[in-house]
């Protein structure tokens, strides 16, 4: 008899976004004329940069010719992309990386979801609360947790609350944890971490032989020059941190699919009897056994994002999104809301008014303003009483959404 992985039965019913879609569909069916504006899902709306389009068209011409055709690519990614990554994202910030430390993939969701496979089931996992649900759900599926309590929090996961009271920066855990997921600039709160904050975490990890899984998918949105873009800008981080990057938000690749993960050679995890093993070799084995390289066309496009032209064009798009963020911050502040994030991140995290629950505010906003956001409670109990808006919509939609907010 084929049995199922019963850990799947521990998962909470709805992943956040399907539930949002369900409520939108229900509302739209009852109000077919309502023009709904979504500031909910973290998906980009601007077209790809012309330099990227040009490079992908060329890649397709290659694929149509005998001489240019490419079959299976190198599982870790093409050198042309890996080199561009190192030379543009890391070297200018004083971070040296070897090609073998970069693993190109089809998405940071996949990478942050799959990375836990190389670690033992006995590790104690720590996540922030609120948190991107993928970190938690993938550990639940793997069997690294117990059941969920009534708050939706799982036994054996250490939740680190992030609220206005601690500026959305988690305290170090009081006990010992083994694997720590951090995301800065943060989804959903938009908070960023200074070098001092990251140093504190790196030191914690070094002291406890813990590993930091650092999601830097939103680093391109950092505007303050003193905020690190990579955790490797902090001394010692190479020994304890894996970093996840993505072209999804940086270059508009949510539909194109390309990302990468950095696993430094110095980073070690341990057998139960204390023998050190290179995490890089484990991830290499996982990557080459269960993955077969990202599309050549996607990689060609990603590399073009690093050309002078590509950088300038991607920056223009990011500037548009950040102008949206500024408009949201300014409008909501003027309306008397308490708002956070939105300066170094494409996410605006707001307090719900009148102590409304985050789902109640979702419903009110949908019904009164036909505007969709994301209920903070969807990201964890400490997200209750908060609401996430994203800066990725089209500027005229953001403008109209802000006008409608005034009527709520």
């Amino acid at each position: 008899m084929a049995t199922i992985n019963e850990n799947f039965l521990k998962l909470q019913a709805g992943y956040l976004f399907p539930e949002i879609s369900r409520r939108i569909r229900y509302f739209q069916a009852k109000n077919p004329d309502a023009k709904i504006i979504s500031l909910g899902l973290g998906d980009v709306t601007k077209p790809l940069a012309p330099a990227i389009i040009k490079a992908m068209k060329k890649a397709i011409v290659d694929m149509g010719s005998e001489a240019g055709f490419r079959g299976y690519g190198p599982e870790q990614g093409y050198d042309f992309l890996v080199n561009a990554i190192i030379e543009n994202d890391f070297n200018p910030r004083g971070v040296e990386l070897d090609k073998s430390e970069i693993f190109v993939s089809d998405g940071a969701k996949c990478d942050t979801g799959n990375i836990q496979e190389i670690f033992g089931l006995d590790n104690v996992v720590a996540v922030t609360d609120p948190v991107y649900p993928v970190y938690v759900d993938t550990n639940v599926m793997a069997g690294r947790t117990g059941r969920a309590n009534q708050n939706g929090q799982y036994e054996r996961i250490v939740y680190m609350p992030c609220t206005a009271e601690n500026n959305f920066i988690p305290e170090l855990p009081s006990g010992s944890v083994d694997i720590i997921y951090l995301c800065f600039p943060n989804n959903p709160t938009g908070a960023v971490a200074t070098k001092e904050i990251l140093s504190k975490w790196v030191n914690y990890a070094r002291t406890n032989k813990a590993i930091i899984l650092f999601d830097a998918a939103y680093e391109a949105f950092i505007t303050d020059t003193h905020i690190p873009h990579s955790i490797y800008e902090v001394d010692g981080a190479r020994e304890v941190a894996i970093e996840f990057r993505s072209f999804s938000k940086t270059a508009g690749f949510t539909g194109v699919r390309c990302a990468f993960t950095v696993v430094p050679k110095q980073l070690k995890a341990y057998t139960k009897d204390g023998r050190a093993v290179e995490a890089n070799s484990l991830w290499h084995r996982r990557h080459s056994t269960k993955f077969n390289s990202a599309s050549y066309i996607s990689q060609a496009g990603a590399a073009a994002a690093y050309t002078a032209e590509g950088k300038k064009q991607c920056r223009q798009t990011i500037d548009i999104y950040m102008a949206n963020a500024a408009l949201i911050l300014e409008s909501l502040t003027r309306l008397g809301y308490q708002v956070y994030g939105g300066v170094n991140a494409p996410y605006i995290w707001m307090k719900t008014p009148e102590t409304l629950s985050s789902w109640d505010f979702f419903d009110r906003l949908l019904q009164k303003a036909n505007v969709v956001g994301t209920p903070g409670a969807g990201f964890g109990p400490s997200g209750e009483g908060y609401f996430r808006l994203t800066a990725f919509a089209k500027p005229h939609d953001v403008k109209e959404a802000m006008e409608r907010f005034a009527t709520v």
Copy 2:
């Protein structure tokens, strides 16, 4: 202290293809003038069909315009592709499928590697010997096996020998197994299964509440009209079989990345206490939590493979590969080799001469003829004494390789 997944330490040292690459590099370094011809790796060489190129170019133009841009796609795949799959691959063969039973992905290697995650660690897994290593290695990583013996076979995996004696069709296991990997047309032996053979397996699975993981990545190479292309052509298979398909070999997508998996709604697996659970809902949860849809461009290209033009062009390419296979079969037969496969599959499975071991024959062929193939032992102990050649090289290379074979 962060611990590793110690199951990774059970894995055999080299995945087959890296070891082949190492030996080629070593030989080429010592013989820089040798013009090596590879009939080894199962990678295609012909450019993409013009209809596919055209569709992908259009998709890229879409991605560069405000109106046409697409962000995150539906996690299960775009309707335009899913509908084309059902209407072209299944309906004409009498197989009805619902859209929700198709999961588009970035590759069959990923899907066949990841599918085991939805099943319990207590399942007994059966594989053929020889076998595509991904099926085994991913179960080792998950902890579903013990250690490997000196033959490289893992405790708790049931190996079903496939040799010339049984026409490379495995016998039903004598004991009870829970999850069975089958691949027809087979990689590496090129064997195919008739409806009668598949029925036997479907009946076994129904009787034992087992699940068949059916890899049909090479179905497009079937030439005999009585050979089923899908396991769902067999009555009752929907209750017990998951089928994997790929555009890699069918449409030359090894570098483009697109595949799909069929998980029928009727297919159930069980909790330890015997409650039936839909495998479809588990895979849906896995897919939407750890994957973020295949590239829009790849999906647009895949859909074009189903247009009248695309079908004709893909068929022309497959015909070229199958002409290669025919030439290999004919040449090697003439030279007195015992050869199998190559009629309904792009793989030719040959007996090594003079009871040479498969790696010894690899070395002899490399040194004497500068031709690369794949040692059968790399696919399992029953592959010892056999050697795999693929039909995916360019015709003039195949011709030259066959001439050189005469000198070995």
